[in-house]
């Protein structure tokens, strides 16, 4: 019974995504176009600016939800999410640009994002195995360190543009595919959370010692969570790369990692709905605050942003959602 319902929901989303795709991108629906056309994103109902914001929103949701698996469910405080996103973005961009420049875009998309995820997961595995014995702030600092090292290395690889950045990356990401990805990732994470793996993660977060005494291998579970999370971050990076069409290491700084953490925290650590809500707020808020800039003439966005963080931590440390979930994401 439950099984049927979820299939129905997924189907509904696929249909909705395709419909959106049709309206906004106008390519995926037409099978003949599918083979050769590059997606033209500049048609349809809404302004390309809002379209671009929505695409970024989708990518941010994916990032935020994947981090929630670590931060919220397993209790691992990592500050290196931008690093995995960078690996995914650069991997996908390189593979598509150098090896599959003429392939139909859906081949590029599938191969690109899978490779991005796999490489990110592989590096995530190596980092995880070596550093997940650490806890708390120390883990945060080590992951931050790894992410910075990744960034500095990318900056010094000339093949991907070095300081100039990588240009002319095929832009095939469109709103439909991003939304579809977001939905798949949300459901994926939700189901992991609700299964025995998720219970083990939560147990480790709550009390690692007790989890140990329940026969749960904390390191193995943490590494699993880390690998899954970096895989998804890598895929998000791939979608990001092919949405921007341009990559520079300036994107993947510590600030980006912190933004994703902030999404989790504002929404409520430990809540999947919170991670989504947080991503929504932190994507839309900075854009909405541009209006403030029109009035004041100076950019207060980062200040408002920082203040929001501090105030939420002090006044509502459990975040906007607390531990609650929206109905469709609750475990029962």
């Amino acid at each position: 019974m439950k099984f049927n319902k979820t299939i129905l929901i997924i189907l509904l989303f696929v249909v909705a995504a395709l419909a959106l795709n049709f309206v906004m991108g106008g390519f995926a629906f037409d099978m003949s176009l599918l083979m050769y056309a590059k997606p033209t994103r500049w048609q349809g109902l809404i302004s390309p600016y809002y379209y671009a914001v929505l695409v970024i929103l989708g990518i941010n949701i994916v990032l935020s939800v994947s981090l929630a698996l670590l931060n919220g469910f397993t209790g691992l405080f990592t500050m290196g999410h931008a690093g995995f996103m960078a690996i995914g973005a650069y991997t996908s961009a390189s593979i598509v640009t150098f090896m599959l420049p003429t392939a139909p875009f859906f081949v590029q998309m599938i191969v690109g994002s899978l490779c991005a995820g796999t490489i990110a997961a592989l590096i995530g595995f190596l980092i995880g195995v070596s550093s997940l014995r650490l806890n708390g702030d120390y883990l945060g600092m080590v992951t931050l360190g790894f992410s910075e090292i990744i960034r500095i290395m990318l900056l010094n690889i000339d093949a991907v543009g070095g300081a100039r950045g990588m240009t002319d990356i095929p832009q095939y990401t469109n709103l439909g595919s991003v939304l579809l990805l977001a939905v798949i990732v949300i459901l994926f994470i939700k189901r992991i959370r609700d299964g025995r793996l998720g219970r083990a993660m939560l147990a480790i977060k709550e009390n690692e010692m007790a989890a140990n005494m329940m026969g749960i291998n904390p390191l193995a579970i943490k590494v699993k969570a880390f690998v899954i999370s970096s895989f998804i971050a890598g895929v998000a990076g791939s979608f990001f790369a092919h949405s921007e069409g341009y990559l520079s290491t300036q994107t993947f700084t510590f600030v980006k990692s912190f933004e994703v953490i902030a999404m989790n925290v504002i929404g409520g650590l430990g809540s999947l709905s919170g991670a989504i809500l947080g991503a929504g707020i932190l994507t839309v808020l900075p854009e909405a605050l541009r209006k403030v800039q029109d009035i004041t003439g100076i950019d207060l966005r980062m200040i408002i942003y920082a203040l929001t963080m501090i105030l939420i931590m002090i006044l509502r440390p459990q975040g906007l959602m607390g531990n609650r979930e929206w109905k469709w994401l609750s475990s029962k």
């Binding site: 439950k2 099984f3 979820t6 459901l187 994926f188 189901r191 992991i192 609700d194 299964g195 025995r196 793996l197 998720g198 219970r199 083990a200 939560l202 147990a203 709550e206 009390n207 010692m209 007790a210 989890a211 140990n212 005494m213 329940m214 026969g215 749960i216 291998n217 904390p218 699993k224 899954i228 430990g270 531990n323």
Partner: protein, 254 residues
Amino acid sequence: MAFLEIDNMSLEFGGVKACQNVSMKLEPGILYGLIGPNGAGKSTIFNVLTGIYPPTRGDVRLSDESLVGKKPFEIAQKGIGRTFQNIRLFKELTVLENVMSAFYSSSNSSITDMVFETGKFHAEEEEVKIKSLELLKVMGIDDLAAVPAGGLPYGKQRKLEIARALGLSPKLLLLDEPAAGLNPTETRELTDLIRKIQKDRNITVLLIEHDMGLVMKICEKIYVLVQGQLVCEGPADVVQNDKRVIEAYLGVDE
């Protein structure tokens, strides 16, 4: 042949001797007590048994297999379940989920099963749920299954910890002061429960307890630990009349 054997085990922390030459032999299906004044190293023995601290010297064997060097979760999987003196529940999980978490290592649905919610996944979840509810019923807290564990009253948290430990289907159950902080009625209730569980499941129980009455009443054999050393072992009447035990208690404890 003993089922669990602690063989001349010593544990030192940077020169401080927490346990010295402790030897114990536990037979299957018997309820043991471990008593001693505060700071005698009772919980430390539990921590060595469960692999949290590796012993400095000596050996610990479960069914003739050495546990030294094994990771805590491996030891747990081999069938040693425990509770904690200062309760360590998964506070934000529900009561039911707390117990279900103990079935982690005995179930085997994969990530794919979870993500696609396959039949196997549902069957296994269902089975674990039923078993967990049974355990809760045994402890008399099945009506609270959906409540977050952190919200339970103290006494019920103690019971839940035992139910969770039972989820491992342990051969050996280590209970660390299960009656601490309970009122006399609750203590009596718990005493009966422990005995009942031990008998019904025919498991070995090692019980640390401050409440002498409780220990003397239900334990078939009692070990007395003073300053990291076993000073006496035997049935209640032997222990009660042992000079060193009386000295230790009169001299040190309240």
